[in-house]
């Protein structure tokens, strides 16, 4: 791989927690290079350290060994340059703000001019299909719509990297599949590098260029599966033999679960 194309370089990352006298190894020796514009899933069961890895990449926690480089720089620098957009498991919306104002929040923090903020928020809401709900309050929206607002907010800063921490895991299967398709549409329009944490095998196969399988005790990268399904991906592909074969391949690559 050409070094210049690497967006995220994860280099021998390890994470050890001290729980009273016990040492808990959450992650050990994870190395991975992620290209610009790639869609990568971190897949694994609970306790495999996938969220820990995401939080290390996001500069929310520091690894106890190894390092993560974003465009060759530290994660702290990347964060201060507003290179991250993050979508959480729960929508994490501000109840006292309208949908529009929620999307504008990161832009307010950047002290952008009001007109610019509104223009960008409008664009993002259009992208996620919520233009008609701009003046609603979060609690007036369904769970799926709330999560769309979360995505619009994450994209408002025009980040290079979109970090998603099991964003659709609280949604029902129908809404989840719809949002999977919408997320791919958004990704193709915006060209972000996406790091997507999930414990749903089908979801990871449907979305990703590569699925990184993490195994627990201790958390480690046990396999990387290339997903060579053509793009754009359609709903029908979910029922194709190729898709089923890839799901089986990913499932087969787990160790010690």
């Amino acid at each position: 791989m050409n070094e210049a194309e690497v967006a995220i370089k994860i280099d021998q990352v390890g994470m050890v927690y001290h729980d009273r006298e016990k040492e808990v190894t959450a992650l050990t020796g994870v190395s991975l290079n992620i290209e610009k514009g790639e869609f990568i899933s971190l897949l694994g069961p609970s306790g495999c350290g996938k969220t820990t890895l995401l939080r290390i990449v996001a500069d929310l926690i520091k690894p106890t060994s190894g390092r993560v480089l974003i465009d060759g720089e530290t994660t702290e620098k990347a964060r201060k340059q507003k290179k991250y957009g993050m979508v959480f498991q729960s929508p994490v919306l501000y109840e006292w703000r309208t949908v529009q104002k929620n999307v504008e929040l990161p832009l307010e923090l950047m002290k952008l001019h009001k007109d610019e903020r509104m223009a960008r928020a409008d664009k993002m809401l259009e992208l996620v299909g919520l233009s008609d709900f701009a003046q609603h309050y979060p609690q007036q929206l369904s769970g799926g719509m709330q999560q769309r607002v979360g995505i619009a907010r994450a994209l408002a800063l025009r980040p290079e990297i979109l970090l998603m921490d099991e964003p659709f895991s609280a949604l029902d299967e129908f809404t989840r599949e719809k949002l999977n398709e919408d997320l791919l549409y958004i990704w193709q329009r915006t060209n972000k590098t996406v790091l997507f944490v999930t414990h749903n095998i089908a979801e990871s196969v449907f979305l990703s260029d590569r699925v990184c399988v993490l195994s627990p005790h201790p958390g480690r990268l046990s396999a990387v599966v290339d997903i060579d399904l053509p793009r754009p991906r359609t709903r029908e592909m979910r029922d194709s033999p190729e898709f089923t074969a890839l799901v089986a391949k990913v499932r087969g690559s787990f160790e010690g679960v």
């Binding site: 996001a58 500069d59 929310l60 964060r79 201060k80 507003k82 991250y84 993050m86 959480f88 729960s90 994490v92 501000y94 109840e95 006292w96 309208t98 929040l105 990161p106 307010e108 923090l109 950047m110 309050y137 979060p138 609690q139 007036q140 929206l141 369904s142 769970g143 719509m145 800063l157």
Partner: protein, 274 residues
Amino acid sequence: MKTLKKLRSSDKLVTLVWVVGLIIIWELCAFQVEAVKRTPENVLPHIWQIIVSIFNTKPISSGRTAVQIVLTSAGSTLLRAGYGFLIGMAVGFALALFMKLSGLIEKIVFPYLMLIQMIPILGMAPIVLAITHDIGTSRVVIAAILTFYPVSTNTLAGFKAVEKEKLDLMYLCAASKTQVYIKTLIPSAIPYFFTGLKISAPMAITASILVDTLQGDGGLGCMLSQSLKHAMSIYVFWQIVFLSAIVGVLSTWLMGVIEKRISPQKRFRKQEEV
């Protein structure tokens, strides 16, 4: 929409049942008292007797009727309770903010807060009066002391209850500390702040009345104790009881109204999944 309307009307129904139930119980007791006591109005008069006493035009003390006495003394007591409440609110909020800003301040200040809260007002009021030498100032101070504790502890709880992810989001956006407070922490704590205000609003009023009883210088509490000592009609006492109960309920209700005005999320009920 229909179910929503139903819910609201059932709220009103509950209130109605409550008020009617209270009146019935009161009256049942009043009839019982009437049957066994020689001066039942000293123990529990009928509600209509109290209402009649409000419209009684016969002057009872220095040319004023009972209701005139009650209302003029209510003015001075409630006004001071109001000042004390506002001061307590400001101090309580500021203290919560300082405690949030510094864990050290929290550790130092919090035990004192508990301590102040544990001293009964009956013990604290004479001390405050001895220091200030002024019944008016004492009312304000005592009302403020009683207000700031619930406001402070609730607001601090609000700061601590902020969703962790909201702070993560602030961090990822490289927000400054001031921005974190203004955009996330303070707005999140507002509902808790109002919970504190709802608790302390009637307390400030009760405290102010209690302070009045210390000195014969007007005010609801002073009239209340004179009435109890039969220096004037006992109905002054009952009118004051009713007035302070109503004002207490109204003060809590008012806090709810103000909260709804300033926080839009309170105006919308949660919707069903679409």
